[in-house]
């Protein structure tokens, strides 16, 4: 898949279309609504065997891992295709912790035994990971790190608390940012080791779980030292933001399809409710929001690969657009379904909760707009401003 590096922006290759079909089929078979509901109300919240098949048989968990690191050498576009399809069904599994954050962080870190040891099993789906890095609006802020690292022989010991870490309750490996004597570094911690206390939290979105992590002299191995930790974490957060945006697109498309079908089949006043312009126009607006979200997310996916745009700006455009689009589409899905849309039995609530959760992760739309204002408006020129009539 290495030759796909040169694809034109927004144009998927035949292989990528086949990949989409394969992941869609897998998600349909393994994450139908009943399965999602069963898993979200049981532990560990996902089907570990299915997750392993996703990694080992379909090979879609580390699509953009280079071949020399044991991956298939695909692109972020390939990975985005898979994440979009998993997002469409709310696939219960550590997509966010493992695929969106941990694997990109490992790929960005310098080569070494720790990276090699961790990366393979994550890509194969035999282990899962969570990233315990408190971000500020989707960007890394060393000052926000709440864990301290101390030397312990050849390795390290971590102490401190990180709250609300997505996918941490069931993770095998934890990637933790901690402040050591030389600055902030990124460490790998075995989640089952002594000194690691995990407190599962009841989350708004039961399909995307969180835990608070408390480290007490927990044994840790250095993954990225102070010289590169900021770059490695920054890379993971940008890639994670973009993959999260793509997931939002997949779920939004599902909701639009669902609501359109409902509006065609639901009869009131002797006619399909979709024939009423009040309903039709709201659906048209959902379509516009979805198209914008898709364009912004895909742009960021390609821009991160081909360097055609500032990654931070592209990621913020994608996040600001997709968070708002998914939230509004999910809210409108409930509204257009009427009473059934508000029930526990109907799927709209699951997506609405995912939308609210996704919007809050890695920076809200408002925070990303604030970043865009700094990057775009603060550097804008007043040249060419329209003249103002003065009477």
């Amino acid at each position: 898949m290495a030759d796909q590096q040169e694809t034109r922006p927004f144009v998927f290759s035949d292989e990528q279309r086949e990949l989409r079909t394969a992941v869609r089929k897998f998600a349909a078979d393994n994450a139908d609504e009943q399965t999602v509901r069963r898993l979200m109300e049981s532990d560990p919240g996902f089907d570990a065997k299915a997750w392993t098949r996703l990694g080992s048989e379909l090979g879609v968990l580390g699509l953009s891992v280079p071949e020399e690191q044991g991956g298939v050498g695909g692109t972020l576009v390939d990975q985005a295709v898979a994440v979009e399809e998993l997002g469409a069904t709310l696939y219960p599994g550590p997509v966010f912790g493992t695929v969106a954050l941990a694997i990109p962080a490992l790929v960005a870190a310098s080569d070494g035994p720790v990276r090699s040891e961790l990366l393979g099993p994550l890509v194969e789906g035999t282990r899962t990971a969570a990233v315990a890095v408190a971000d500020r609006a989707g960007a890394f802020d060393p000052a926000a790190v709440t864990v301290r690292a101390a030397r312990a022989g050849d390795d390290w010991a971590l102490s401190g608390t990180v709250e609300r870490v997505v996918d941490a309750a069931a993770a095998d490996d934890l990637l933790v940012a901690a402040t050591g004597p030389d600055g902030v570094a990124l460490f790998a911690v075995d989640a089952t080791a002594g000194g690691v206390e995990r407190t599962p939290l009841t989350t708004l979105d039961l399909t995307r779980r969180q835990a608070t992590l408390r480290f007490t002299d927990a044994p840790a191995r250095l993954l990225a030292g102070p010289d590169e930790a900021e770059r490695v974490i920054g890379h993971a957060l940008v890639v994670g933001s973009v993959l999260l945006a793509v997931e939002q697109v997949g779920a939004s498309q599902h909701l639009l399809d669902l609501t359109v079908e409902y509006a065609k089949g639901r009869l009131q006043f002797g006619r399909p409710i979709g024939s009423f312009q009040a309903v039709k126009h709201r659906l048209a607006d959902m379509l516009v929001d979805l198209e914008h979200a898709r364009s912004a997310a895909y742009h960021a996916v390609w821009a991160l690969g081909d360097g055609s745009d500032d990654p931070a700006l592209a990621a913020s455009i994608a996040q600001a657009t997709c968070s708002e689009a998914f939230s509004r589409i999910a809210a409108d899905t409930i509204q257009l379904h009427g009473g059934i849309g508000f029930t526990w039995e109907y799927q709209a609530q699951l997506y609405y909760k995912r939308a609210i959760t996704d919007a809050a992760l890695l920076g809200s739309a408002e925070q990303h707009r604030a970043r865009i204002a700094r990057l775009v408006l603060d550097t804008a020129s007043g040249d060419g401003a329209p003249s103002i009539a003065t009477g």
Binding site: R8, P9, F10, V11, L256, V260, A263, K264, R271, P272, G274, S275, F276, Q277, K280, H281, L283, A284, D285, L287, V288, E291, H292, A293, R294, S295, A296, Y298, H299, I317, A320, T321, E366, R369, A370, I372, A373, V376, L377, A380, S381, G382, D383, G384, A385, P386, S387, I388, A389, T390, G391
Partner: protein, 397 residues
Amino acid sequence: MSTAADSSRVADAARKVVQEHDPTSVPTREFLAACFDAGLSWVHFPEGLGGLGVSRGLQSVADGILQDAGGPVPFALNPIGYGMAAPTLREHARTDELKREWLRPLATTENIWCQLFSEPGAGSDLAGLATSAVRDGDEWVVNGQKVWTSLAHRARWALLLARTDPDAPKHKGLTYFVVDMQGPGVETRPLRQMTGQAEFNEVYLNDARIPDAHRLGEVGDGWRVAMTTLMNERSSIGASGSRRGTGTIADAVALWASRPDLHTPVLEDRLTKLWLRAEAQRLTSERSRATATVGGPGPEGSVGKLVGAELNQQVYEFCMDLLGPEGILYDDYTMRDMERTDDWRGPLQQRFLRSRANTIEGGTSEVLRNILGERVLGLPGDLRADAGKPWKEIPRG
């Protein structure tokens, strides 16, 4: 042939035109004639008719090279000609001779085109129009009034939709023609709008005569032909502008940057939202260009028109709110005709008033949302009181 090969063929042709006809030194018409002859006016048209028979997505390849070398944006010089008349003529003109006769001077902008569609009694419900065309030998005699006709006073040719069978249901009784705007029986009067200017015209047709050879499509098939025109209108309005931060949003951003004394956090977020929406729409246009197929533009072009129109209004509303009391002055309400299509880009307050028309012209936002709902999403149509009735029995007013 593969897309990559087509792409380099288009690029080679464009570079050759630029090399042999430097757009910064030769007259515009000569340059545009060279573009037409090289097949770069509409790359998806057949060879000999201003195209190369390749995917329309490759137009951006040609335009990029031609415009980077200083070439004009031909759409701006003959918007209805390029955006609407050309695809309609290409598909529906009766002979290749007529196609060539019309398309080449259209492409060079020697002949400006306008469209005679809307009427005082037929706006959104265009198919209800009343202008009649009655056959007389091998000619048609046309009577009626058209309105909102931009460029009618400068146009050589017009696209006309007229009723040829009042006994048929409204969509079935229409026929499409090309009218000579300089012929007898065609009278153009300026129509003053709320900006004070007359950008549009009313056109009165009194026994205007059209040769049958200038009919496009079959008698009674005018609605289907008109759809070619309208889909291209929406697509051409929606797909323009490709660099980040260009277009209407540039006005707001430049005004913002030039007036730091007026900044507030609330206004900043409002402007950022507008910038973001403009950027998302720009990327959507890029995406739809990149994935465009050889076929004509689909109803998804309506997204661009809908968003662009509403965004224009919001941008100028923002500018006015930024300026506060400074904004409530005007330059001049003296009526004047618009000579160029971009004359309306006058002072901010004029642009602000002009933007009210954006959500009406070229399909109201309400109609566009219906199109998105029905043609893209496949939702059922609304109840129609006029369905199946002969046109002459439909209440009008």
